[in-house]
């Protein structure tokens, strides 16, 4: 039981992080039909802004998190304005290539700025000691670190906040409206540009939160981290049904569970842990074959 519980919380932690990143892919796709391939690298920048906040500025955890989310969010808005907006009428392919280019720029820019040596957060951030929690807690016979609890709870809160915005506020209504029929949105007196900026602000802000929490959970950061993790989160978003934020959450969690449970129990039946990724992606592929639009996806109504 304790082993299972331990793995369960590990999976929940990893899955929450994938989910936070996947949300940004899915939101941007929802409003622009653009797969923002720079999103993984934006996540990486968020993680490094955590280094900037916690080491350079010597800030504690919460201000570091907020600072990184705000700066990354603004960067996301800027990237959209400068790189994607001029291409809104251009072909899908040129937008995708531009996004890949932006990703490479961020990666190499960070490399030039910080060097290739891996970074990590200072102890006060790696070892969170939240009030009322201490640094370990026992659940179902497993001893779970405070960081894991904080990550899971924060991810849940952030998702809840986003869900509230999307479902209950006029901004969220506008985002959903754009994803349904962008022609009619300006007729409501709503500026598409404003809604798109808001979407990038939220999506990249959440990626930054994912980056900081990633650095808390797995304390080695390097400028290339965004590519691999970003791809995985993207696949999670697709499996969940790209364009639907519940799908991103479920897809991210599923990927986390598969990645943790395959190596944890696979060795009992002779599957080595190097099979983790092939099995994870194989399972996801099977889901996609069975449901091409993903778990929450519906076929998009084509508009003329």
């Amino acid at each position: 039981m304790d082993f299972f519980a331990q793995q369960f919380f590990n999976a929940l932690q990893l899955g929450s992080l994938y989910a936070l990143i996947a949300l940004g892919y899915t939101m941007v796709y929802g409003v622009l039909l653009l797969i923002n391939f720079a999103h993984g690298d934006i996540f990486m920048v968020g993680a490094f802004l955590g280094v900037f906040g916690s080491i350079t500025l010597d800030l504690p955890f919460v201000p570091t998190l907020i600072l990184a989310m705000i700066l990354t969010g603004l960067m996301g808005v800027g990237i959209e304005r400068v790189a994607y907006k001029p291409l809104r009428q251009a072909s899908r392919l040129s937008a995708v290539i531009t996004a890949l280019g932006v990703g490479l720029l961020l990666e190499n820019g960070m490399l030039a700025l910080t060097g290739a040596d891996p970074r990590s957060y200072p102890d006060n951030i790696k070892n969170l000691n939240p009030p009322l929690l201490g640094d370990q807690i026992d659940i179902l016979g497993a001893s779970i670190s405070a960081e894991t609890i904080v990550i899971i709870v924060l991810a849940l809160l952030l998702f809840g906040g986003l869900y509230f915005i999307v479902q209950r506020t006029k901004w969220g209504m506008a985002m959903r409206a754009i994803s349904y029929d962008k022609f009619a949105v300006p007729l409501m007196g709503v500026s598409q540009d404003q809604i798109i900026s808001m979407t990038f602000l939220l999506g990249t802000g959440l990626a930054a939160a994912g980056g900081i929490l990633w650095g808390v959970a797995y304390p080695i950061l390097n400028p290339y981290m965004g590519m691999r993790i970003g791809w995985k989160a993207f696949i999670a978003a697709v499996v969940g049904g790209i364009g639907d934020i519940r799908g991103a959450a479920v897809g991210g969690l599923m990927l986390g569970f598969i990645e943790i449970f395959v190596p944890a129990y696979g060795k009992d039946i002779g599957v080595s842990s190097t099979w983790r990724d092939p099995i994870a992606f194989g399972l996801l592929l099977i889901i996609l074959v069975a449901r091409p639009t993903g778990l929450f996806g519906v076929a998009r109504r084509q508009k003329v």
Partner: protein, 234 residues
């Protein structure tokens, strides 16, 4: 003059769809623009609403040239387009569609306007929590008009509101349009359904392949030979 369109030319690529059209709408009027499928009616309305750029010509609204404004800014001046095909957000509820139309409004103004819409169309209030996709065509048209009222109905442009609706429903909706007009909203109504449109409008223009070929009071148009032959099937 609330709206005057002067020598408007509009193209898609290098095909010109509107060849120098001029017309005017005075405050308080109901004016109709009738024409067959493909005549350029939607193109004209979409150009006025700034969804599509003009090649040349002027669109003056309240005496000001609105050519430099963006579509969402035109809406803020009280110029509302009810587009062809209604374009309801099917993934949003009836209330959310109206709420979104009030994006720029403060809460008290918003609820006042939504209340007004529910007053004209009690059906919408009954279905306030239903998704747009689940509405009938008539209800969707009511919602489309309702949204325009929420954004602010100084001048309402309607693009074939009768399309695909049973005559009885069209009569109901047109009766509401008359009420809305009497309450102070000027209406420019585009229709293929000349019969219905001329009954509602004070006067009208006939559009043929991008040119205005005829204009006059609704009575004159309804009795003119061309209109009778081409649109009224007599």
């Amino acid at each position: 003059m609330l709206l005057s369109v002067r020598d408007l030319r509009v193209s898609y690529g290098n095909i010109q769809a509107v060849h120098g059209v001029s017309f005017e709408v005075e405050e308080g009027e109901i004016v109709t623009l009738i024409g067959a499928n493909g005549a350029g009616k939607s193109t004209i309305l979409n150009t006025i609403a700034r969804l599509h750029p003009a090649d040349s010509g002027e669109v003056l609204y309240q005496g000001k040239n609105i050519a430099s404004l963006e579509a969402h800014d035109v809406v803020k001046l009280g110029l509302a387009l009810v587009p062809e095909g209604r374009r309801i957000f099917g993934n949003l509820t009836v209330y959310e569609n109206l709420r979104l139309a009030g994006f720029q409004l403060d809460n008290s103004k918003l609820s006042e306007r939504i209340k007004r819409v529910y007053g004209y169309f009690p059906r919408l209030e009954e279905r306030r929590s239903q998704l747009g996709d689940t509405l009938s065509g008539g209800e969707q048209q009511m919602l489309a008009v309702g949204r325009a009222l929420v954004t602010g109905g100084n001048l309402m442009l309607l693009d074939e509101p009768s399309m695909g609706l049973a005559p009885i429903l069209v009569q109901q909706i047109f009766a509401i349009l008359r009420e809305i007009n009497e309450a102070g909203t000027t209406i420019l109504l585009v229709e293929q359904n000349a019969h219905m449109a001329l009954k509602l409008a004070n006067r009208g223009y006939v559009l043929e392949t991008g040119n205005i070929t005829l204009s006059g009071s609704s009575d004159e148009l309804a009795h003119s030979e061309e209109v009778q032959k081409a649109y009224l099937g007599r």
